[in-house]
């Protein structure tokens, strides 16, 4: 007789049932995700790469990536063929064929052209955000982890940072709107203001130092996103710093390094991979946020890129494009999804935008994963 025979079949089947339920729940999540990806790819891929559409076509729809969004004009021409053209093309068409018959003309806002504006805008917002967030975040993490005396006060700061991470993004958006867009933050020196002075004007050198608010601008949006992603960056940086072996610090200090030399040469270089990985993940999150930028930076439609003749901001030390509003991918998607009807003509813009944006975010995530694997292999101790 087998001495190890199972004594209870009920226990066995209970166990099996449990594992099946857990597995099923896991696969449901996986299934949902895959279905979403599939659906987006199925609808969006033919827009970006018409070769995959039923009608076929070119390999890459470069227009979609290199044109600004504009209004789409639908019409029926003389032969009774339905056409849809972005408004600028339509104007050229009517110029070239002055006596062309245009019937059933219908316009759809935002759905013509391409998504160059939102792509560039999102890239700039992310850039501004990450520069600010990394500088402040690394500094804060180094201070909290290396310099500050670990006590109740530092504990409270950590708690506050953690809480900040849980604040809904719309709250950050409103905060950014109030603080960065409306509050006069930027000192500017101006002469010849006469008697028409703002509330705060400090007279000096025959002129006045006044403060300007940023308004709806790239900088305000970038700063708002930076504030939002700061807790994540700080926490990740602290983790990375903690992961650097104590032995490196001790060895460095025992050789007569100052605290800063120790941090610069024996801690930060070995924390960089972690910081980098975390910040790329931060980028993924920031790039997709709509709420913080909808009040602070983003506009639905803009005919030009930020650096094409931005309006003068009157601040001599700040590039004009920083104080100009931008388009951004998440807000663009919100616009084309919520503000225009879905028709055969507009679907291309809707599906294509989502697909390209998904690719963009996945690319960032892949970079992050690659960096993590790469550095893990390279830096071992």
């Amino acid at each position: 007789m087998n001495p190890f025979q199972s004594s209870s079949n009920a226990r066995k089947s209970k166990d099996a049932f449990g594992s099946i339920v857990l597995a099923a729940l896991t696969y449901i999540i996986l299934g949902c995700t895959l279905f979403i990806f599939y659906d987006i790819a199925k609808k969006g891929l033919p827009v970006l790469m018409p070769v995959f559409s039923e009608k076929g076509g070119e390999v890459l729809n470069t227009d979609f990536l290199t044109r600004m969004p504009e209004t789409l004009v639908e019409f029926t021409d003389a032969e009774g063929v339905k056409q849809s053209l972005p408004s600028s093309d339509f104007i050229e068409y009517t110029k070239a064929n002055p006596d062309a018959v245009v019937e059933n003309k219908k316009t759809n806002a935002y759905s013509g052209g391409g998504i160059k504006g939102p792509l560039v805008g999102t890239a700039l917002l992310v850039l501004v955000c990450m520069v600010v967030a990394l500088v402040i975040g690394i500094a804060a993490a180094v201070y909290l982890n290396e310099y500050a005396k670990q006590g109740r006060f530092v504990g409270m700061i950590r708690l506050a940072i953690m809480n900040l991470a849980g604040v809904p993004s719309i709250v950050f958006g409103l905060f950014g709107f109030a603080f960065f867009c409306l509050f006069p933050l930027i000192p500017v020196f101006e002469t010849g203001l006469g008697t028409d002075l703002p509330k705060v004007a400090i007279p000096m050198f025959g002129g006045h130092l006044i403060f300007k608010s940023l308004g709806n601008s790239l900088l305000a949006g970038g700063l708002t996103l930076a504030v939002m992603v700061l807790p994540v960056i700080i926490a990740a940086c602290e983790e990375s710093l903690k992961a650097v072996p104590k032995g490196f610090r001790e060895a460095s200090l025992a050789l007569g390094a100052t605290k800063w030399q120790c941090i610069r040469t024996a801690v930060l270089p070995y924390a960089t991979p972690g910081i980098l990985t975390a910040s790329v993940l931060g980028v993924t999150r920031v790039a997709g946020e709509t709420a913080p930028i909808m009040f602070t930076a983003a506009v639905a439609l803009k005919g030009k890129l930020p650096w094409d003749s931005p309006s003068d901001n009157g601040i001599f030390w700040m590039p004009d494009f920083l104080t100009d509003s931008v388009q951004a991918m998440p807000y663009h998607i919100y616009t084309v999804a919520a503000r225009i009807p879905r028709t055969d003509a507009t679907a291309a813009m809707q599906d294509g935008s989502v697909f390209v944006f998904l690719l963009m975010v996945m690319a960032f995530a892949s970079v992050s994963i690659y960096l993590r694997i790469h550095f893990r292999k390279k830096l071992k101790w």
Binding site: K149, Q150, P245, G247, F248, R249, E250, A251, S252, L253, A254, L255, G256, A257, T258, Q261, T265, A266, Y270, L379, K380, W381
Partner: protein, 279 residues
Amino acid sequence: MSNSMNDTTRTATAPVPNNPNPIAKQDAMIEIDDVSFSYDHGQTNVLRNISFDIPAGKVTALIGPSGCGKSTLLRCLNRMNDLVDTSKVTNGQIRIMGQDINASDVDPIELRKQVGMVFQKYNPFPKSIYDNVAYGLRIQGIKNKPKLDEAVERSLRRAALWGEVKDRLGSSALGLSGGQQQRLCIARTIAVSPRIVLMDEPCSALDPIATARIEELIAELREEFTIVIVTHNMQQATRVSDRTAFFYIGELIEYDSTAKIFSNPSVKQTEEYITGRFG
């Protein structure tokens, strides 16, 4: 100066009971004078009223069971304990070359350049062998390549590692064996030309062969440096050291020549420990 005069007279007239043959003051590199030390703002002392002198150009071993405070004392000597916010020397003075090292005008950075340290777990940086040895000099601002080359070669030769690594100075230090990594750490320490080298159980993570090589190295380095070594291994203490201090729960029980401690200790506790009856 007057301070050290006073000490000489005091020690000459009234020797510390546990220190029957005090070293002549002029030979003492490190004078530990009634030192108590605490990790918690002085509430409990992990070292209590330790007094003894460590001679220049000799190897001094600190032995004792775990938790007896020997490593703590070692870390007091280059003020590595400063890294622990709540730690403090609560009583007494540690003088190195006659200077109280906890005086307010002592820069721990300058102290550590003179008092190097080798750690229990070998801890080379994940850099090249060359960069590891050159680290201490570089942070002192030395950029002159020939000078660095010369110092790296001299230190590696001194640490008996040159022959093994001279063809791969540019490769990662982490590719070396454990024993080689520890010798690299010794090379890194002596590259900045300290007067004193503190070793905190330098062989505890090494196999017997690597240990033997480190011990040979210690024997060679004793002429140039004053070495203080913490060890759990009593055979090692007898092999490498000239003098031995035995600690037990934060107190110095006995301090004498190594030969005397291991052949004819004057305190019963010492005898029990070295014969393996406790600890």
